[in-house]
Each structure stands twice: as structure tokens, then as C-alpha cells.
């Protein structure tokens, strides 16, 4: 009787949750008590592409470490993860390890962030990778990986067209390359020079904007986070970039999404360039292994100051829940330390997760993908500039910047209006915080 009633309630709950669109989310709190002997570490992963690899890592760790059980749950990227995490926190089941994306979450989840500065891996973190998560003498998260944003290009097509990618360091050179590719379209067998997915707010509002705003904040996420206003010093360069990229892109740009850009166009060799970042490699590889071998990444050209500098930064940190008991906290730190410092763990990070590590002590020659290799050589040549989009005002990229660019490209408003509106939106967003 009780059982069936419970089931009924549950199905009604599920049904109503699906129906109740505009209704609020309230918590059904339930207390969780872990068993006394084994410490369970609840790892809430945001990178879905790491799902299987992290599960395997946890399994290996659980086998060799008695008394600890690391349980990985993976939830989709971006907003979905944050929504799910909030719901988890409301229900009183805050995960022991969860992901942070920037200063905003540092603020929002303040009471859930423990100091991990005693972690073994933290001492090996590369310079600059901890800046965002430092709070006084405390460190509030493990940097997960370094990512680079730039223009991913097809080396084979570039070679055929006679373009030297290393020379594309100025806006003029970029425009020339687009022009050349466009002129030789039929000869090269491509549909267009590049593909620009303007439907994705994060591609235009975060990634495209980043190199052009980075100089204003000296490449510091924290500075960006504390900026009350922006002044768009590079607005003219940015206009050139948007104009050229949309002109020579496969059309229609307004409804093009990420998968059309990467899976349908770039991975099949129908376009020679795509503005993305190091993370696209596994996707391209899954479509065409051979094509994926001959790709590279170059910086989005801005001006002379940034010429040849690739925007690189940590885009995600793993935090350890402060509300968990000390034993679980320690177990969580131990697992992350194992992943980033032990021989086994490091091997997983390099060859399975295939990321550019944020820690010293890695054998960089083992980085297998060409984009990671390119990014790593920029890093070791010290030719990088900081990624700042993690410090943008809440919601600014999505609703303050991206729509303005879409309006400009659709011819609904002038460039100056778009820029002015985006400045105003930043100011309002900051005032509301």
C-alpha cells in the first residue's frame, strides 16, 4: 500500500514537474547519511565529453584505494549544469566535488567552497592557473584544464591555397586569407572560406569577444569581473573581424549552430576555418580521423599588441564541498591529487581526457591532438594572452552582447548602436549585482 502510493506520488511528481513550466522549483530536502566504513565521494562532472574517461578513472582509483568510493555523475554543459547543481544544493544533496566556471560562481556558491590549498596538486599548478580561485591565502578550486580559443584551420586546404597560417597575425592578413580561399572555392572544393555559427550566443558573445576585450583587463578574469564598465577600445578591429567572418562564412550565419559548423562543415572539409577552440578536436576526430590529423589553431588577429598571441586560460575548476564532513573533503582532495600528480592519473589526464594540463610534471610530448599541441607550444613560447570571458557580467554575453551582434549582422542596427548597447548592458548588469 505504502509502496504503491509512493510510486503514484512519484509519477505524479514527475508528471507535474514536466508540466509545471513557469512554476518555481522547490526543494524536497532529504538527509543523506553515508555508511560508516567507506567514504563516498560524489563527483558531479560538468564535462560530458569526460563521462566515460572519468568513470574509468574512478573505477581504477576505487580498486587501488580501500575505504573510498568515488562516484561520478555527468551532467550536460553550460547552463544546464548550473541549473542541475542549484537544484542539488536546494535538495540538500550538494555533491562533494563540483565544477566552477568563473568568479560569478565563486560568489554564488561561497558557502560551499572549501580551501584546497593543502592539496598536493595545487602546489604543482602552473603560474596563473589559480588566480581566479584565490581568495586571500585560500585556494578554492583545482584547475581542470587549459583551453585555447582561436581559429581552427584545415592545414591541407591552406596548403593547397598557398596560405601560410603563421603569417595571419593581422586583421589585413586574415581578410586576405579569407579572400584567397573564397576566390579559389571551386578549385579547393570548399563551400565557403569559414563557418561562423551566429546562433550560438557563446561563440559570438564569449569567444569572439574575448580577444578584443582581453587587453582592457590585462588578460585578467578577476579584473573583468570587477570592471563596472567597458570601453570597447578595440571596437573597430572587432567590427572588421565580424564583417569579414560573416561575409566569407557559409550561409545563413544567423541560424547556424555549433554542430553545423564543426560536424557538418569543418569536419567534412567543406570550409577551411572555424572559430572555436581546443575542445573541438574529439568531435572532428569522430567524424574524420584523417582530416583531424591535419588541423591547427591560430589566434584571432586583433591588433599589433596581441599579434600572434593565443588566448589561453583555465575555463573550469573543481571545487570541494565545504559542507561535507572533513573525512569526505579529504577523500575528495586525495582523489583529485591522485588524478593530477600520480603516474596513473597523469596518464589518464593526457591520453584519455586529452587535455592541455594546468599542472607541471606532465610529459608534454604525450599530448596527442594537434590542437592541444599547438596550444601547448604557444604556452611554452609564452605567446598567450589571458581568457577573460569567465569574468564577464552575468548574462551579458548571452543577452547583452550576442543579440546586439545578431541585430547588427541582420542589418537591424548600426555597429555603433550595437557597441553602445553592449556597454550599457554591462553597466546595468554590474549595477544589479
Amino acid at each position: 500500500m505504502l509502496g504503491t502510493k509512493h510510486k503514484l506520488v512519484k509519477s505524479v511528481v514527475v508528471g507535474a514537474a514536466l508540466l509545471g513550466g513557469a512554476m518555481t522549483m522547490t526543494a524536497c530536502s532529504s538527509s543523506s547519511s553515508s555508511s560508516s566504513k567507506t567514504t563516498t565521494v560524489d563527483f558531479y562532472n560538468m564535462k560530458v565529453e569526460f563521462k566515460d574517461q572519468l568513470n574509468a578513472a574512478a573505477a581504477t582509483y576505487n580498486k587501488t584505494h580501500k575505504g573510498v568510493k568515488v562516484k561520478v555523475t555527468s551532467v550536460g554543459g553550460g547552463t544546464d549544469y548550473q541549473t542541475a547543481l542549484k537544484a542539488k544544493m536546494q535538495s540538500g544533496k550538494t555533491p562533494d566535488i563540483f565544477a566552477l566556471e568563473g568568479p560569478q560562481q565563486l560568489q554564488t556558491y561561497k558557502k560551499y567552497l572549501s580551501d584546497v590549498s593543502s592539496g598536493k596538486a595545487i602546489k604543482k599548478a602552473l603560474p596563473g592557473t589559480l588566480n581566479t580561485v584565490k581568495s586571500g591565502s585560500q585556494v578554492l578550486g583545482y584547475p581542470v584544464l587549459q583551453e585555447a580559443i582561436g581559429i581552427v584551420y584545415n592545414k591541407t586546404i591552406f596548403q593547397k591555397a598557398g596560405i601560410d597560417a603563421s603569417k595571419i597575425t593581422t586583421m589585413a592578413a586574415y581578410e586576405n586569407a579569407l579572400q584567397t580561399l573564397n576566390d579559389k572555392k571551386s578549385e579547393l572544393g570548399i563551400e565557403a572560406a569559414t563557418a561562423f555559427p551566429m546562433k550560438e550566443w557563446w561563440v559570438i558573445g564569449q569567444h569572439a569577444v574575448d580577444p578584443f576585450l582581453s587587453q582592457e583587463f590585462n588578460g585578467s578574469v578577476t579584473k573583468a569581473y570587477n570592471a563596472k564598465t567597458i570601453s570597447w577600445k578595440n571596437s573597430d578591429y572587432f567590427k572588421q573581424y565580424i564583417d569579414a567572418t560573416t561575409k566569407y562564412s557559409a550561409q545563413p550565419v544567423q541560424s547556424m549552430d555549433y554542430s553545423t559548423q564543426i560536424e557538418k562543415l569543418f569536419s567534412t572539409g567543406k570550409v577551411a576555418m572555424a572559430e572555436q577552440g581546443t575542445w573541438v578536436y574529439p568531435t572532428i576526430e569522430s567524424v574524420d580521423k584523417n582530416l583531424a590529423k591535419n588541423i591547427g589553431i591560430i589566434p584571432i588577429p586583433v591588433n599589433n599588441e596581441s599579434a600572434g598571441k593565443l588566448p589561453v586560460g583555465v575555463t573550469q575548476w573543481w571545487a570541494v564541498n565545504k559542507q561535507a564532513d572533513t573525512k569526505t573533503q579529504k577523500a575528495s582532495r586525495d582523489f583529485l591529487d591522485w588524478l593530477f600528480t600520480s603516474k596513473e592519473g597523469k596518464n589518464i589526464v593526457l591520453t584519455k581526457l586529452k587535455v592541455v594540463p594546468a599542472y607541471s610534471g606532465f610529459d608534454s610530448s604525450k599530448i596527442s591532438d594537434p590542437l592541444g599541441k599547438d596550444a601547448y607550444s604557444y604556452i611554452s613560447d609564452k605567446k598567450t594572452q589571458g581568457l577573460v570571458f569567465g569574468g564577464f557580467a552575468t548574462d551579458w554575453a548571452q543577452n547583452g552582447m550576442a543579440p546586439e551582434l545578431q541585430k547588427y549582422v541582420a542589418g537591424k542596427e548600426s555597429w555603433n548602436t550595437a557597441i553602445k548597447n553592449s556597454e550599457a548592458a554591462w553597466k546595468t548588469a554590474r549595477a544589479g549585482q
Partner: protein
């Protein structure tokens, strides 16, 4: 209390408890939060009615509200006209009427999100391929402009919902007393006369139900909106539900979003209740 009443309460208790827990309680919680600046995680402070004032001053909210109203008016009319048309068609006796019923109803069995993604493929890939083949311009960028995005939403909504509404109209059409129609036949009424003079007035209760259902569903639409256009380009095809969701989860303004939701609730409630009142006055007993 009589034994019958005890059983009544016992059996309806699970539903009532569930309803209380997942609809009523969150609803009142929501009203409470709409007066705070809650961000979804940390403690919140009471901010009076400023959320409501800001919501009514928020241009994106008002734009999405206006877009939703435009969408709903057109979608409701089309769904009901087509739904009724299909119902009249399949209640005629001909071969394959039953199969047609099933086919018309089928789109409604597919979830909104999946349906949206399927149609996104049709609009983006199939339309542009067809456009290239025939040389008709504009078919290639169906989801890229505000106007075509709007019609894409209407088309998908109508396609999904007409079959469902058809089922409701069928039940009312079949409930009509056959003797009335036979009498009309004897008096020499034409098919048109029979429809407008007899069937139409008698299925008035069907209108009350169908209009109410389409109205509330069109206004609350979220999943097709997300999967088809995601609000783009430049948030010009963003409907109210999406505006509220984004306020809550990408802007982290849970309290503000809640105030928007309450305003939206009152708005939809007033319209639906007015509609039910007006159409039920027109209902007649046969």
C-alpha cells in the same frame, strides 16, 4: 461521516497530497520568493514589490510577452479551425477514416523537444535543399529571421496540436443526436446548413474545452521554442516561458523571474477565465 465519504477521501488523498506538494505549495513559495532577491542558492532579502515594477519595465520581458500573444492568437485560431476541419472530415463515413484519425493524432505523441529538433532539421536542411532545387529564395534561412522563425513556431505548434484538438471535436460531433440530423435531412437541409445550424451550435462545449487547452498550452510553450530557434535571432523569437527561465537560471535572478512568472500567471488566468466564461455562455442544451 458515511462509509462512502471515507472511501472517497481515502482514494483521492494521494492525488490531493501530490497536488498540494507539487503545485500548490511551490506556487505559494513562488509568490513569496517574488518579493525577495533570491538568487537560487544563498540567503535572500525582502525587496517589496520592486521585482514587479522592474518586470513591467523590462523591455525583453514585454517583447517576449507581445511575441507570445501574437503567436498564441494565430496558433489558437489555426489549431481550432484545422482541428475541427479534420474532425468533420474523419467523422464522415469513408474507407480509411480510422487510419486517418490515427495519423492526424500521431504528431501529438512525440515529445515537444524531439519534435522541435526534427522540425529544425526540416527547416534548416530540407527547406534549403528544396530552395536550391527550385530556386526559391529565402527558403535557406528559414530559422534565421524573426518572421520566418515566428511562422516556423506556428507551423510546428499547429501540426502537433491539431490532431489532439481533433479528437475532442470528434467526441462532441459523435455525441450529436442523430435524430436531429435525420429531421434536417427530411426538411431538405444542405450539408452546409446542417453544419452551421445544427452541428456547430451543439459542439459549443467542445469549443470551450479546446480553446482553453490551446490557449494555456500556446502561452506556456517552451520546448519547441527552445529546440527550434532558442529565441534567436537576437532574442526576437523568445517567448515568455523562455524569458522567465533565462532570468532565473542564466541571470541568477530567481526572485525577479518569480515575479515575472506571477504576472504571467495572472495574465493567462484572466484571459482563460474570460474565455471560459464567454464561450460557456454560448453553450446550449440539445
Amino acid at each position: 461521516m458515511s462509509k462512502k465519504k471515507t472511501w472517497f477521501y481515502l482514494f483521492s488523498a494521494p492525488v490531493l497530497i501530490a497536488l498540494f506538494l507539487v503545485v500548490l505549495l511551490p506556487f505559494f513559495y513562488g509568490i513569496f520568493y517574488s518579493f525577495t532577491n533570491w538568487d537560487g542558492v544563498s540567503q535572500s532579502a525582502f525587496v517589496g514589490i520592486s521585482n514587479y515594477i522592474n518586470a513591467l519595465k523590462d523591455p525583453t520581458y514585454l517583447a517576449s510577452l507581445w511575441f507570445t500573444i501574437k503567436f498564441s492568437v494565430i496558433a489558437i485560431v489555426l489549431i481550432n479551425v484545422i482541428g475541427l476541419g479534420l474532425a468533420v472530415l474523419v467523422t464522415n463515413k469513408f474507407k480509411g477514416a480510422n487510419i486517418l484519425r490515427t495519423i492526424f493524432f500521431m504528431p501529438n505523441l512525440i515529445g515537444g523537444l524531439i519534435l522541435g529538433f526534427i522540425w529544425q532539421f526540416i527547416f534548416v536542411e530540407a527547406f534549403s535543399a528544396f530552395g536550391k532545387l527550385t530556386g526559391i529564395p529565402g527558403l535557406g534561412s528559414w530559422l534565421a529571421t524573426t518572421n520566418t522563425g515566428f511562422w516556423a513556431l506556428v507551423i510546428v505548434m499547429v501540426w502537433q496540436y491539431s490532431g489532439y484538438i481533433m479528437v475532442i471535436y470528434i467526441s462532441y460531433l459523435q455525441g450529436i443526436d442523430q435524430s436531429l440530423l435525420e429531421a434536417a435531412d427530411l426538411d431538405g437541409a444542405t450539408a452546409m446548413q446542417k453544419f452551421w445550424q445544427i452541428k456547430f451550435p451543439l459542439i459549443m462545449p467542445g469549443f470551450t474545452v479546446s480553446l482553453f487547452m490551446t490557449l494555456s498550452n500556446c502561452f506556456k510553450l517552451y520546448d519547441q521554442n527552445l529546440s527550434l530557434t532558442a529565441g534567436g535571432p537576437y532574442n526576437s523569437t523568445q517567448m515568455v516561458a523562455m524569458n522567465i527561465y533565462n532570468t532565473a537560471f542564466s541571470m541568477n535572478k530567481m526572485g525577479f523571474a518569480q515575479a515575472k512568472a506571477v504576472i504571467f500567471f495572472v495574465f493567462v488566468a484572466i484571459i482563460s477565465l474570460t474565455q471560459v466564461y464567454l464561450t460557456s455562455r454560448k453553450e446550449i442544451e440539445a
